[in-house]
């Protein structure tokens, strides 16, 4: 049995009675990750650090024509990005102990931006580097660190092969575009069936995370600095591609054909889900009036697919914790820290759980901070 002592004090354990699992934390990729490891054919285009960008002084992480500030070693002004737990598994496990977190699902940080490139070969090469590095990181404590691979879908066949390779490496799921870029088929296309089949067969959840909708210039691009209205609009609207994708998967019959496919909406909050379910069912119920009743029939209601096939993670969503009972999807909601990003509460996650879930029934709190993510990713408790 590969297990360890709990970081929670007896008082904490008495309060919670179970360990806490983080459904969405992040890596901090070393700045030289890609220049050090990428296939030599792509070295001149690999993401890298420069000391000046378009005449602006400072250190920038640059990928194609996008740059993000890394001056002072900080990102977003939040110092937890500096913690070596972002790239050193021993330090990561220490921080999790300090924060009272037993296990974590790990997403990328800088590599989010690579979803925006239109260079398929470069994207595949960059993702492969990240996946190898992440697998090495998680291998230190595979029972407690569940890494999600990055899968390029410009060539779906090669994407499936990479998904299978990552499963062999021990990664526990994968991120794909939150929504494909306009140049690619939407997720309703049968082209993606091989991917859905592989993910279902391997038992790997596919995650749609905010900031991965195939957009190159995200809000964190240095070109957007100062354009606060644009930046914050972008941030808030990042739930939109997630909503569109899961709705398309539900309406298009993908969840009929792949009934055990698990899709995650990550970091997009939860308050909207009950409304989306109700609205999806309302429009579906009206298909007869619209003259589609004999041509458009699903095995289940749209909301039932969302309840069965979609999982949703959030960091802090006060409204969502009031509205979720209306959607009857408590078995698929997962709490997360967002460590080490700006939204995280390190090292006070337990305190935040106590405060944020004060009005949530204990049976649901346990589902949100432990049971659901444990079930989805196979964490054994």
């Amino acid at each position: 049995m590969d297990t360890t002592a709990a970081a929670l004090t007896p008082k904490d354990l008495k309060a919670f009675g179970y360990t806490i699992i983080d459904a969405d934390a992040h890596m901090s990729e070393p700045l030289d990750l890609w220049t050090a490891r990428i296939d030599r054919r792509f070295l001149d285009r690999a993401p890298r650090v420069v000391d000046e960008f378009k005449g602006r002084p400072g250190r920038y992480w640059v990928f194609e024509d996008v740059a993000m500030r890394v001056s002072h070693g900080k990102q977003g002004g939040h110092t937890t990005m500096e913690r070596p737990g972002g790239w050193d598994p021993v330090e990561r496990l220490k921080d999790m102990e300090i924060d009272g977190i037993s296990a974590a699902v790990l997403y990328s940080t800088r590599a989010f931006n690579l979803f925006g490139t239109e260079d398929a070969g470069l994207q595949e090469a960059c993702f492969r580097v990240y996946n190898d590095w992440l697998a090495e990181f998680c291998s230190h404590a595979p029972d407690r660190l569940a890494g999600l691979a990055l899968i390029s879908l410009y060539d779906i066949g090669r994407g499936v092969a990479e998904l299978e390779r990552c499963a062999r490496l021990g990664l526990k799921g994968a991120m794909i575009w939150a929504a494909p870029p306009e140049t690619r088929p939407p997720y309703v296309a049968k082209d993606y069936d091989a991917l859905w089949a592989a993910a279902q067969s391997l038992g790997l959840p596919l995650s749609l995370h905010t900031n991965t909708a195939g957009v190159k210039h995200t809000s964190y691009s240095v070109d957007r600095e100062g354009d606060w209205g644009m930046q914050y609009t972008y941030m808030v609207m990042q739930q939109s591609p997630l909503q569109e994708s899961i709705l398309r998967l539900a309406y298009s019959g993908v969840f009929d054909r792949f009934s055990k496919l698990d899709v995650i909406c990550a970091e997009g909050d939860i308050a909207w889900m009950p409304q989306l379910m109700a609205r999806a069912d309302k429009y579906y119920a009206s298909r007869g009036k619209r003259g589609h009743g004999d041509r458009f029939n699903l095995e289940l209601l749209p909301s039932e697919y969302l309840r069965r096939n979609v999982w949703i993670s959030f960091i802090k969503d006060e409204l969502g914790l009031k509205l979720y009972p209306h959607g009857n999807f408590a078995d698929h909601i997962m709490w997360s820290t967002d460590y080490p990003h700006a939204a995280c509460f390190f090292p006070d996650s337990l305190k935040v759980i106590r405060e944020d879930f004060a009005e949530v029934p204990e049976v649901d709190r346990k589902k949100f901070v432990h049971d659901n993510v444990a079930r989805l990713f196979g964490f054994e408790v």
Binding site: M1, L8, K94
Partner: protein, 325 residues
């Protein structure tokens, strides 16, 4: 010289048989297998292979040692549980699997109802190490260091038994001691030597002794009732005021429930004799990973198993210890 006739000889043999414990008259008449879960060449495998030849000689039948790893001992335990209770299929298992796992979670066997305890072999040592660069040179200084650090001190661990020992120390000293999981002891000792960790519970195996000799590791205390004969310079935890009298990890011999008394006593006697051989004692002492601890009777070992089950259960309740995924 009187020569017995056939009837006399038969009566004598019958009389001898009456003096043997029930069920042991014809035991063994075929080879015995001892299953264990450790990897080939590991401590348990090595010690067992040193002892089995002697057992085979005195029992008159080969005693085969068979590694059947999996589930930290559960695979071999289940195999022996399901074997015929005749003494020919035995289990050499550790308390992590026979005591800690059943207390901490559901197991496919009951260590008391499904097995007969035969003989205790040895305890694996539990020694508190700090980096050579640590300011702590005694347990008292270690406790003071932990108390002065609000974040707590980190230890590397690859086993539940280490976690439980640390939980006992933390509970007894009122300190905050946080775990970092590792796959095995070598990496823990390497990281401890470079002070990436604050302390560890380990043994005096050659790797750790080399790091001690190089000044990169320091022994603060041994969890044992008295100072070890082979390492008398290392103080015990008890003499430094920490009530952790011994390691929680032992290795011992078990048979399936229902094995006759006579067979169990025969095996206990021969197991003790084999483990008492000077070469086995010397190897255990020099290895530095274990302390030979034989029991006088099978019942004594059975009491140890039952007492440990109760003690671990209480420890978990007292300390709030909980397994992590």
């Amino acid at each position: 010289m009187a020569i017995m006739n056939g009837m006399q000889a038969g009566l004598l043999l019958a009389g001898l048989a009456l003096t043997l414990p029930a069920g042991a008259q014809n035991f063994p008449v075929k080879p015995i297998s001892i299953l264990h879960a450790s990897t080939s060449g590991s401590g348990p495998d090595t010690f067992l292979r040193m002892a089995n030849a002697r057992m085979g000689e005195t029992l008159g039948q080969p005693v085969n040692v068979e590694a059947r790893p999996g589930g930290g001992g559960t695979v071999s335990a289940v195999a022996v549980k399901q074997a015929a209770p005749d003494g020919y299929t035995l289990l050499f298992n550790h308390s992590g699997n026979m005591v800690m796992d059943p207390v901490l979670g559901a197991m496919p066997f009951d260590p008391v109802k499904d097995f007969r305890a035969i003989a205790l072999g040895y305890y694996t040592l539990a020694i508190l190490f700090v980096p050579g660069s640590s300011p702590a040179k005694t347990v008292a200084e270690f406790v003071a260091l932990a108390r002065s650090n609000p974040q707590g001190l980190f230890f590397g661990t690859a086993s539940t038994s280490s976690d439980l020992i640390v939980a006992m120390i933390a509970h007894a000293t009122g300190t905050k001691l946080l775990s970092v999981p590792y796959k095995g002891q070598p990496q823990i000792l390497t990281d401890l030597a470079s002070a990436r960790l604050d302390f560890a519970i380990s043994t005096l195996q050659p790797t750790s002794r080399a790091l001690i000799d190089a000044g990169k590791l320091r022994v603060l205390a041994v969890a044992w009732p008295k100072r070890l004969e082979s390492f008398p310079n290392y103080p015990t935890m008890i003499e430094q005021g920490v009530p952790v009298p011994r390691s929680l990890t032992w290795f011992g011999l078990f048979a399936p429930a229902g094995t006759p008394d006579g067979v169990v006593r025969t095996l206990h006697r021969e197991f003790n004799a084999a483990f008492s051989r000077p070469e086995v004692r010397d190897m255990l002492a020099k290895d530095g990973s274990a302390a030979l601890t034989l029991t006088d009777t099978p019942e004594e070992f059975g009491r140890i198993v039952r007492n440990d089950l109760a003690a671990i259960d209480k420890l978990i309740k007292d300390t709030g210890f909980k397994l992590k995924p």
